[in-house]
């Protein structure tokens, strides 16, 4: 075991040296001494202002505290659910290819795993302690509350490491059954608390004890289905995913290949069947599905940003709401456009001719699907902002149609750029887009302008053209 500790230390030392070197190089590109000093000063200033600002919201913090006190079991449930979801792509214990290769030498993978498991626990403890210390220093939460929260989070986090590792190696029907059972258990536990059969504190203890018992059940099975090469590959991506370095050096990394859920779906017998050759859209939808799945964080981010932007501004009056909705739409269109480009970067897709009409229409299928969600979000936000009137329906329809036209414009623009490297949108196209945004904004202030927006949408729908050579 001592030899294993020594070799793992050696790997860690070299890895951190390499990372330090890369960070130094990356920061060296962006920061010089003067900027670093200013940045440091600004950070201190920011922390002081943050502290001051947070103290002003003391009543809100006390309100949050009293609300959370009765719902602490949600933290445990949330952490368990989080571990289950994360287990799709993160094995939790960092056995990278370097550690895995040690097992081909005279080191035991079981010893390596034990040490890394221990390391993960210590790291989690340090991170959680640091986080709650900051919470204690900067926020007006009471000591008792923060300590209670700290203990619950710490114990739950430590108890979900092993399940996350175990679930990472599971796939197929078994995984889905566990997810389903998990959901049922959560529902039952909430029902028990709501009906006051068992008090909240008791429920937390019950869940934690069950989690502890579960550890004993899965511990002997922890290596049974472990696919080491896949685990090593996944951990390599996690360990070497240095966002700042990537951003500074403008390096593209291979997206993490997700297994489990997606793999379960596409490896289904039905999905193996050849496509109907006459229905090209099925073929291209599969490629887009892969693209969306590879960039799922990005997709979720788009939807969350949209919802946040639309909801937060709905309380601040019509002017701000108008700006919020138009801003959210602008952001959505740009982000959906960027997502469209990602699939063309797959080497296989890049190397074959692009059937643009089919590629675009199959992508638009997913845009239509998301527009149902956006329709609901906008309708609720408008309801909050304007009260319950029939106009909300017209507004929502108009905004969703506008989104469709704007996304369509954006995609057509990308397609034309693909075809002609020097292509830029015409002044007419740019003006039309600008006019639509302006008209949508004004229509939030004055409902009569909705007609104007509908008119521009109609013009936009019939004026766009696809690249000529397809």
């Amino acid at each position: 075991m001592k030899r294993t500790v020594a070799i793992l230390r050696f790997i860690r030392k070299n890895r951190s040296q390499k990372k330090r070197k890369l960070y130094r190089f990356a920061f060296g590109v962006a920061l010089d001494k003067t900027i670093s000093v200013y940045l440091g000063l600004f950070t201190i200033l920011f922390l002081i202002i943050l502290y001051d600002q947070l103290q002003q919201f003391e009543p809100i913090f006390h309100q949050i505290e009293s609300l959370t006190e009765n719902r602490l079991s949600w933290i445990v449930i949330g952490l368990i659910a989080g571990a289950l979801v994360l287990s799709n792509e993160d094995p939790a214990i960092r056995i990278t290819s370097a550690e895995y290769k040690l097992s081909t030498l005279s080191y035991s993978i079981k010893h390596i795993w034990k040490l890394l498991f221990l390391e993960k626990m210590i790291r989690s403890m340090i991170n959680i302690t640091a986080f709650f210390s900051l919470l204690l220093i900067f926020t007006p939460f009471s000591y008792v509350f923060v300590i209670k929260l700290f203990i619950i989070t710490l114990v739950s986090t430590l108890l979900v490491i092993l399940p996350q590792w175990y679930f990472h190696s599971l796939h197929g029907l078994k995984r889905w059954i566990i997810y389903f059972l998990g959901l049922i258990l959560i529902a039952i536990s909430r029902l028990i608390v709501i009906t006051e059969v068992v008090p909240e504190e008791w429920m937390i203890s019950i869940i934690l004890v069950m989690l502890l018992i579960f550890q004993f059940y899965i511990y002997p099975k922890r290596f049974k289905k472990a696919s080491w090469t896949q685990i090593a590959e996944r951990n390599d991506q996690k360990v070497w995913n240095m966002m700042i370095v990537r951003f500074m050096s403008d390096t593209k990394t291979k997206p993490v290949q997700r297994k489990s859920a997606w793999k379960d779906i596409y490896q289904h017998v039905y999905m193996k069947k050849p496509f109907r050759y006459s229905k090209a859209s099925h073929m291209y939808r599969r490629i887009w599905l892969k693209g969306l799945q590879d960039h799922i964080e990005y997709v979720i981010m788009i939807l969350i940003y949209f919802a946040i932007c639309v909801f937060l501004t709905s309380f601040k009056g019509e002017l701000v709401q108008g700006l919020g909705i138009v801003g959210a739409m602008f952001m959505y269109v740009k982000l959906v456009g960027s997502l469209f480009v990602t699939v063309f970067q797959y080497p296989l897709v890049h190397s074959i001719p692009w059937n643009m009409r089919n590629l675009k229409s199959s992508y638009m299928f997913f845009v239509y699907c998301s527009s149902v969600l956006l329709f609901i979000v906008m309708a609720i936000a408008l309801w909050i902002g304007k009260g319950f009137t029939l106009n909300i329906l017209w507004y929502s329809i108009c905004f969703v149609l506008a989104l469709y036209v704007l996304v369509d414009f954006q995609l057509t623009h990308h397609l034309k750029r693909f075809n002609n490297r020097w292509y830029t949108a015409t002044a007419y196209e740019q003006l039309l887009v600008l006019a639509l945004y302006a008209s949508l904004f004004i229509s939030v202030l004055n409902v009569k302008f909705l007609f104007c927006s509908f008119l521009i949408i109609l013009i936009g729908k019939y004026k766009k053209k696809l690249p000529i050579n397809n």
């Binding site: 050849p274 073929m283 599969r286 296989l348 190397s351 001719p353 089919n358």
Partner: protein, 230 residues
């Protein structure tokens, strides 16, 4: 008739020049071998022709279609076999075949006839409904090769055609390529297997550190290399 025309192509990544002032032409039915040591720029040149690598200067035309201003039409005129297979893990072998067929606008019947024939020839006809991850690397290379050979395009770009293939597959591929050349397809290939040059290539272009240092007839090259050995 000129199929491929490169004029003053210059490629840079950061401050490093990968290709410098590359110019050459290919006519119908001609087969050119790009040769050179590792890092000479052969694969970069291939990727630049495909459009995977952006060029800084110069123009590339296939059948007079400019890569910069008519890329969609340009893409339909070539097919590419990479050195390493890059199949999508979400599609089966047959679905890849269909994707290639649809992208090159092939008729379903001729696509299926051709695919079945070549899948049999390369001895992977029983793998039609398998995903790439359940195939060996050699099999994946075979699938990639078959897919790229399916369409009748004026230009075939092949990066190391024989790497990863078994002896039987190499012979079959060689025969198919010779047939393609006879029927008027132009082939640009990179290879380190110089002994196969005289069967497959009519001319050669030798690269060194991103520059063309020599080009000419393959027979002439064979003579030169023999003299060098002596």
């Amino acid at each position: 008739m000129t199929v491929l025309k490169l004029a003053n192509v210059h490629v840079e990544i950061g401050r490093e020049t990968l290709l410098n002032d590359i110019s050459f032409e290919m006519s119908e039915g001609e087969s050119i071998a790009l040769i050179g040591h590792n890092g000479a720029g052969k694969s970069t040149l291939m990727k630049t022709i495909i459009g995977m690598q952006q060029k800084k200067e110069g123009t590339i035309h296939i059948h007079n279609r400019d890569q910069d201003i008519d890329y969609l039409a340009y893409k339909k005129l070539f097919s590419y076999i990479p050195e390493e297979p890059f199949l999508l893990p979400e599609l089966t072998v047959m679905q890849h075949v269909q994707l290639y067929g649809k992208s090159y606008e092939m008729e379903e019947s001729s696509l299926l006839t051709r695919a079945e024939e070549w899948l049999q020839l390369f001895e992977i006809e029983d793998k039609m409904n398998e995903y790439p991850e359940s195939l060996s690397k050699g099999m994946r290379q075979k699938v990639q090769t078959i897919c790229a050979l399916l369409p009748d395009v004026p230009l075939l770009l092949i990066d190391e055609p024989f790497v990863g293939l078994d002896v039987h597959a190499i012979t079959q591929l060689e025969e198919i390529l010779i047939q393609k050349i006879r029927s008027g397809t132009s082939i640009l290939l990179t290879t380190h297997q110089l002994e196969r040059l005289d069967r497959l290539a009519t001319s050669y272009v030798m690269l060194k550190k991103g520059l063309i240092i020599e080009q000419g007839d393959v027979q002439q090259f064979k003579g030169l290399s023999r003299r060098m050995e002596e």
